[in-house]
Symmetry: C2
Subunit: 398 residues, 2 copies
Amino acid sequence: MRASNFKVKGFLFSGISAGIKKDGKKDLGLIYSEVPARVAGLFTTNKVKAAPVQLDMERMKRSLCQAILVNSGNANACTGSQGLRDAKRVSSWVAKQLGINEQLVFPSSTGVIGSQLPLNKIEKRIPELIKNLSQEGWMNTVEAMMTTDTFPKVEVATCLIKGKRVKLCGMIKGAGMIRPNLATMLSFLVTDANIKASLLQQMLERSAEVSYNRITIDGETSTNDTVLLLANGKAGHPSLNRMDRDGKAFQSMLLKVCQNLAKSLVQDGEGATKFIEILIQGARNKEDAKRAAYAIAHSPLVKTAFFGEDANWGRILCALGHSNAQVNPNRVDVFFDKAPIVKNGMGVSPRLEGKAAEVIKKKSFKVTIDLRQGEHQFSVLTTDLSIDYVKINASYRS
Amino acid sequence: MRASNFKVKGFLFSGISAGIKKDGKKDLGLIYSEVPARVAGLFTTNKVKAAPVQLDMERMKRSLCQAILVNSGNANACTGSQGLRDAKRVSSWVAKQLGINEQLVFPSSTGVIGSQLPLNKIEKRIPELIKNLSQEGWMNTVEAMMTTDTFPKVEVATCLIKGKRVKLCGMIKGAGMIRPNLATMLSFLVTDANIKASLLQQMLERSAEVSYNRITIDGETSTNDTVLLLANGKAGHPSLNRMDRDGKAFQSMLLKVCQNLAKSLVQDGEGATKFIEILIQGARNKEDAKRAAYAIAHSPLVKTAFFGEDANWGRILCALGHSNAQVNPNRVDVFFDKAPIVKNGMGVSPRLEGKAAEVIKKKSFKVTIDLRQGEHQFSVLTTDLSIDYVKINASYRS
């Protein structure tokens, strides 16, 4: 993607190394809007919330944000009252030097849990961070928030609202995970659209439901998960206040951007060698479809079989059977892409199984499980469980 | 253990290779009681139940069993009505040649899901299997039911009931797993005690609650999990009908044997390098303690950290936070054995952390999480998540 594509009116970006990460890579980023922007946000549902999450949730109440300060290398989680004081302190430094209200600065952190923020390092580099702000600097911000991500993940889209072309740019930081619920996802989206705060929040929640929430388990997230959407109105159209035709156009664009970001997150899963969609269809109800999909997507035995390119469909049925979904084992059909592997709960002929076995050698494929109990469906994106996943996570802190 | 220690009056054992496993190792075993024995049983709660499980659950209704026919190398699961016919067929062959009622034979299978039983191979070897029956043959039976187990797991105990010495011998087959809920556990126990069937069932359930069920998640088990306890009364004491002093003596012995078997199962976890007890204390209620314990014991990030000998306590708090247990993050204390690593939700000093870091270099240790919310506790046994776990499970069928 060309850097110019990412420009959004009134937004500036920056990212530098402040020495928080041991390897000297970028670890401190800033997103700045020239005017206060409306903000929508989603935060971790983990009861253990990092200090910056607690602070942002409080500041969200004003529905305005002008700057996001993000750091990697340190999560500022499980850091007690000092952690909260520190989150306030770094945001006040940024506010002061930008000449804006401290309440408009949203800090965000990712990295190791349980260490206090290295305040000196951050304070020293804030002038440089601000000096480097530019419309083209978004890639520096993305790099500054990466942890085990292997590539930067950004998305851009435009649409027409009330006759004006508006732009939406989003970035996401990987968590690079097999089970997103246990690693941190940070995603920041900026747009020059002019949208009422309550509508913006509603749109973000709708989009998250079929994007970020399709790669995570409900209510199981890291201590730091944060999604922020800033709308600064610089596109110059009258305020969008309800879900009319223009509202739908923006919603649809937002949804697409969120889905692409979520998809790229899974593709960069830690140690992942496969990118797999699990689709449950024919479920009695949505809840059942969801339960079944997550039971399969989270089964370490299913995931290791995919890594080994072993068409071991018995593990899929086994995971299904303990999912608490309504299942009649004798009705279940399973397909790898379009190749049938299970018919009425039993394996297909060796010739047909051979075709399905070819599918799982692909880098990316879809597993469809038809419960034949009803009309509902649910899909979730996941990866395999590889040797590298264990290696990466066994030595994360060292 | 000396083979003679394992002798139980009236029980004979056998185990041979029938060529079901590709590697030529033992894969067909038989346990035979000279007289019909009272039987207690526990079976998988997975909705997808293997054919032998379905058959045994039906046969349990008579509360009598005289023979257990076990095979490895094939689970006879997801095999439809043919699977059920086959399970009946193999048990009828055994019954006929032993000269006993077919309803008294309980088949049990473990291995790959989705292939039909190789009937010819089994039929051909049943005469030899029966010919080999002996009081000392238990080790052959244990070997015949092993899959990825790296060592045979047996336990023996004795106690006095109504003045007679009674013996209890148990064997367990590994599932050799990190998450027992996703691999098959078979455990067979035999005793010469004389116990009423309903009391026997009650005792088995009580024992399982604090043994087998402490290494698995409620309602999440493989398609084949089976525990059978046979009591043939050969010790010659009057029938034990209620939980009096003698009843308690047997219950206590049974509990100890089941706990030791469960413990050995975890110690032989697939690829496991660590053997870890997770103890939650200070919980508001038992349910909370259980939820928290399983959330930590099942977290792949906690388990890989243990494998890497990384005292990454933040992952423990993170898992705790999404466990749905009542948690006040600022009150949580964590210990590795007796070394404190977290106090009031925050890391201890580097000097103290160093001591805790020494603990996780041990092969076996205890992680105590004190929620300081109440008086309830729950503990669960688990292992780390290693590179070998992935290797073993990626190539299980090939």
